[in-house]
């Protein structure tokens, strides 16, 4: 079985894996750092955008629609390249690659999260806000304690699904040389001349995201049965 030996050598090479494992580990840590920063940032920014939108101030909402449409239309890779290479030009100073990536992904993901949360807010009957306001709560208190908890629960599957997409999308940061998981996998591949590092990267993503995909299915099923 010579062919099988070739496949094993290029794709499932345990010696290679042992050698490059520390690199992948560091890449994975960077990916985790990126996600731990960008998911909450995008989510909170999006929630704030959606809350502002719900105040129905015409001119403000027009601006928000432009913002959201713009950042949903621009491919994240294009946005990332503009931010990474454009901002230093504008500022005349280098910015940290991590900060640039964070900034670009916050712009992009806040638009998506914002749209999801907005839909959630709009799914809550008007009477909830009125009841809360009638007891003396301010609009923001009513949002925080009455509307948002219900709204976020209603769109939990969409939020989870968007989070999974966002985590996968952070691999784009490899293009601007941020040493995250995919980047480190490709560097390792260049060192060992076989594809094992990339297989390992895929498996790591799978292990990381599979529980979330399961969670998503469960949330979706629960939503269906509570309708």
């Amino acid at each position: 079985m010579v062919e099988w030996e070739v496949i094993r050598f290029s794709f499932f090479n345990l010696e290679t894996l042992q050698e490059i494992w520390p690199m992948l580990w560091r890449g994975w840590l960077m990916t985790v750092q990126l996600c731990v920063a960008v998911v909450p940032l995008g989510f909170f920014a999006g929630t704030i955008l959606a809350t502002i939108y719900s105040l129905r101030i015409k001119s403000v909402n027009a601006a928000l629609i432009v913002y959201v449409d713009f950042f949903r239309s621009v491919p994240p890779l294009v946005l990332l390249i503009y931010v990474t290479y454009g901002i230093p030009l504008l500022l005349g100073a280098d910015i940290d690659a991590f900060v640039a990536v964070l900034f670009a992904f916050t712009l992009n993901s806040s638009s998506y999260f914002g749209e999801i949360v907005r839909a959630g807010i709009e799914s809550i009957p008007k009477g909830q806000m009125e009841a809360a306001r009638s007891t003396g709560l301010t609009t923001l208190q009513a949002m925080r304690y009455v509307i948002l908890p219900q709204a976020l629960k209603n769109v939990a599957p969409d939020l989870t699904s968007n989070t999974i997409e966002l985590i996968k999308a952070t691999s784009i940061a490899s293009v601007v040389a941020l040493p995250e998981l995919l980047r480190m996998g490709r560097v390792a591949q260049g060192l060992v001349y076989n594809a094992t590092p990339l297989i390992a990267v895929a498996v790591i993503y799978l292990i990381m995201l599979w529980p979330m995909v399961r969670l998503l299915s469960r949330l979706e099923r629960r939503m269906m049965s509570s309708r």
Partner: protein, 248 residues
């Protein structure tokens, strides 16, 4: 004799939604401990009038005073005023993600800034007054419509308001559950609460109301003691309305 300061004084209230004039100069004065009952056909502006009293709707013109304070004046802190005006809605509008106790204590904690323990003790007391002390931990979906509406009443009275506004509090209830809510409202009245009630429960009005207002097409057509308005209505429109209601 000095004039008793009304709890609610709505003067010359006009309200339009776009081109539609819904209130055409309505006056509503409610004395302390008075129960004013408002009847009228659907779309006549009853809900809008109530909602103007706590500024859930902004009147297009006119003045609303609560215990003498002009709440339609510029610079009034409406959240401060709303603590003193309880409102009960046709559709209950309980917060489904909170227990009965959570529903009742939220505003005590966040508006009156009471510590949680104090707010919950107060909320428990309010639940007791509506006969639902044993349901403090229940969520709205676990309660019958009548129980939900009583929790909603507890949510309002826990704030110790000067006046309670009821907008068709029993219209969404199955007939066998109406009685328990009316019973709570009677108790409230006995305890001296000032109340404005929009409802079709004519029996309750006869028993409990001090004054009945009949509204039609954005105006108060007739007002007086329940015996007069129900027993000997002066206006044709009042007669026609009462006939249509009693017809079924």
């Amino acid at each position: 004799m000095a004039r008793v300061e009304p709890v609610v004084e709505a003067l010359a209230i006009h309200k339009s939604f776009g081109d539609l004039e819904v209130l055409k100069g309505v006056n509503l004065t409610v004395a302390p401990q008075e129960l004013v009952f408002i009847i009228g056909p659907s779309g006549s502006g009853k809900s809008t009038l109530l909602r103007c009293c706590n500024l859930l709707e902004e009147p297009s013109s006119g003045v609303v005073k609560i215990t003498g304070e002009d709440i339609t004046a510029a610079g009034v802190d409406i959240n401060q005023v709303r603590q003193r005006i309880g409102m009960v809605f046709q559709s209950f509008n309980l917060y489904p993600h909170m227990s009965a106790l959570g529903n009742v204590s939220l505003a005590l904690r966040k508006v009156k800034k009471q510590p949680r323990a104090q707010a919950e003790a107060k909320a428990q007391e309010a639940l007791e007054r509506v006969g639902l002390a044993h349901k403090a931990d229940a969520y709205p979906t676990e309660l019958s419509g009548g129980q939900q509406q009583r929790v909603a009443i507890a949510r309002a009275i826990a704030m110790e308001p000067d006046v309670m506004l009821f907008d068709e509090p029993t219209s969404a209830l199955d007939p066998e559950l109406v009685g328990s809510v009316l019973e709570v409202m009677r108790e409230l009245r006995k305890s001296g609460m000032t109340m404005v009630v929009v409802s079709h429960e004519m029996r309750f009005a006869r028993d409990a109301a001090d004054r009945v207002l009949f509204m039609d097409a954005g105006m108060v057509v007739e007002e007086g003691p329940p015996d007069e308005v129900f027993g000997a209505p002066k206006h044709e429109r009042t007669k026609a309305f009462l006939a249509s209601v009693n017809g079924h």
